[in-house]
Symmetry: C2
Subunit: 421 residues, 2 copies
């Protein structure tokens, strides 16, 4: 039999980052009865099958309005297409309207979700063994995983670390920082945002240090009640310092798996997007035109504004986030534990006086019927982390109430146990 | 400005394989008036927008028939899903019906086209610097490109080479052949097929040499008039020696970008598909469920038989292939040039007494209005190749007639020129 040993396969397969993602996916399948404050999926409240049909029709009509005959309409949606995509013009309009980001559609590559955008970008930037990626820590596991796939080490930049100091020490070791990955708005997993002056300082530092910034922005459209959106790094970037990683998973339609990258840095006579497109031609050839048509149709249905398209979703997430932080305050009035009160997005981080690992998660799922995410998954290395992440996006208010009761019982029992040891 | 030099990016970007693909895509955009005997796209004759709607509805109904309630139907199509996919059971039924391949759906990973299946497989197999991929030469550029993305060298196995001898010499150099890539049915670009006994010998050799085979089969459903299909390697494989790379681009719907890999080799307590799925969770997370639903609906519409679904397409390709080989015979009756007469598929290789390069292709496009593909793109290295590839798939019979007139004029003029030098 032609069977294989794990040790004969690529090293990433035994890596913590990939197994993290897998463990987190599987644990929810093992405990289907548990309420999940783990899932970062968008709300399902407004999904409607008829929208798929409507979006496809709207996109076809848009092509006709552009002068396509019926054969060209069919060809565009059914056939292989340009590797860069078929909706870059609509994405560019969306970025102008919602984000005040103004780019040539030719600087955009439409990708299979934001994950492929990350892989393409890191694949392009990883030229040699000395190359590393910096990433604000705790870090989204998807970027760590993408880096593993292209054999690119990730150097964490902790909350207390000074980026300039980290850069200096990395360079002193003969390593070359190719970019720094940041999620300035309601980050996954920390829930934290950078304020405007921090953004400006980061751009200045990046310019001074000749560093690229990879800005990932899946949650920016979802500020909490009473909070305003802050301009993205890319909209403040006057010197093509920022590669912008875009996702429609939370704001468009997760099942389309359509994202994009804005890469307007010049390379030779073209732009970085041209080079990413060449890599994409060997990775996925192109992003499903059918899926792009669905997302294109949703953009068209909303005059290219996803802020407009997501008013109801924004209200759901804002109410849920409030319910989680209020609910924690009611259940833990005496400061036994602490939590973040984010200005938006999906995630609240709860800090507890005991280390939180996968064994505790399984206990919580099995004995208490509530799922959450150990923060340790978002850090490199084996240091125990006394925190867990709650997500507000894929639950209803009654579910949040029940889940917080279960979580409170679990934490209270753990506090007793950890006091006793 | 944060601009970049090509020399600072990954080496694949200056590689022939990636630039080949790019050049070939672009040349057709530069000469839209030329008739293309270059494109390997499927025929557009039977595309119908209403099919998309019908397929989506059929798949939704199938989920209901499986006991899904409406919320679960919506969730399956709209939400992120299992990384392995949502249509593996339908793919497994299709393989059983059309290919006599019988595999557990859990050994299947649905991918973003066959290209992602290649990248996942090569990424898993490329563990160290000593690893290489063998590939029957001339070779599909997509596999060469995928190998470049994961820094895996490709060792060509020429038509006259003995695979066992190549294996021995590769191993003697301290390199480790992880697999051999083959397209046994109507290969791209050669058009050639392996007969049944050659398939059995290859499986035997692979078993004796402990070599995995990567079988790629995009064209197997399209035998020419008077030819029968030959069993795939995977259907003959009794010892999990074959990783089967599947595509729906030619038989399903290219715009869905859905393919798959069958990887039933055991790895630890699971199968290789589990490991490929872990890699996929960091590459594209999952294949668009919307796109999978469309392909699933097409399978359901045809009782999971793509042989049945493609009767009209098979007839078109068979007639076109015949028209090309007959048309060449009419125009070159005196043996000035030779060509293959394939038993099916899309491709005819024409051998001429002069080297065929990209400059000649541009001349043919510009001055004669006909596009084809220099065979040199399918070989490693810079050796001049006196051959070009014609594709029969994306043209009508009148276009073939006109294109062959133009091609004959071009070749005749070149014969005169090459005689003169």
């Amino acid at each position: 039999m032609a069977d294989l040993e794990l040790s004969d396969l690529h090293g990433s397969l035994t890596d913590r980052a990939l197994n993290s993602m897998n463990f987190l996916n599987e644990v929810s399948h093992h405990y289907p009865e548990a309420i999940s404050l783990a899932a970062g999926r968008p709300t399902e409240e407004f999904f409607a099958l008829e929208d798929l049909h409507r979006y496809l029709d709207l996109f076809a009509q848009y092509l006709r309005d552009q002068g396509y005959d019926e054969a060209a309409v069919r060809r565009t949606i059914f056939q292989y297409g340009r590797t860069k995509g078929i909706i870059q013009d609509l994405v560019a309009r969306n970025l102008a309207i919602d984000e005040d980001i103004h780019v040539d559609p030719e600087a955009i590559v439409v990708t299979v979700g934001c994950q492929e955008a990350m892989v393409l970008t890191l694949r392009a930037l990883r030229a040699g063994h000395e190359d590393v990626l910096l990433a604000i820590s705790p870090t989204y596991v998807g970027i760590t995983g993408a880096a593993r796939l292209v054999d690119l080490p990730v150097v964490p930049v902790g909350e207390g670390d000074d980026l300039a100091t980290v850069l200096k020490s990395v360079r002193a070791e003969g390593r070359r920082p190719r970019a720094c990955y940041v999620m300035p708005d309601f980050a996954n997993p920390s829930g934290l945002s950078m304020d405007l002056s921090a953004r400006r300082r980061l751009l200045e530092l990046a310019a001074g240090e000749n560093l690229l910034l990879l800005e990932d922005n899946p949650y920016g459209l979802f500020p909490a009640e009473g909070h305003e959106r802050i301009p993205t790094l890319k909209s403040l970037d006057m010197s093509r310092r920022v590669i912008y990683l875009g996702s429609f998973a939370k704001t468009g339609l997760p099942g389309a798996r359509v994202g994009y990258v804005v890469a307007d840095q010049t390379v030779g006579a073209g732009v970085l997007a041209d080079e990413l497109s060449k890599l994409k031609s060997m990775l996925t050839v192109n992003t499903s035109p059918v899926a792009q048509a669905v997302v294109g149709g949703k953009l068209l249905a909303n005059d290219c504004s996803l802020v407009a398209a997501n008013r109801r979703e924004r209200a759901v997430y804002a109410a849920n986030l409030q319910a989680i932080t209020d609910g924690l305050a009611t259940r833990f009035p005496n400061g036994e534990i602490t939590w973040t009160v984010p200005a938006g997005g999906f995630f609240v981080v709860v800090t507890v006086p005991f280390p939180v690992d996968d064994t505790l998660l399984e206990k919580s799922a099995h004995e208490y019927g509530v799922l959450w995410t150990p923060m340790s998954h978002f850090y490199d290395g084996d240091t125990p982390i006394n925190a867990l992440r709650l997500s507000c996006s894929a639950v209803t208010l009654p579910q949040i109430d029940a889940a917080l009761n279960r979580l409170a019982a679990f934490i209270t029992d753990q506090l007793v146990l950890s006091d006793g040891t």
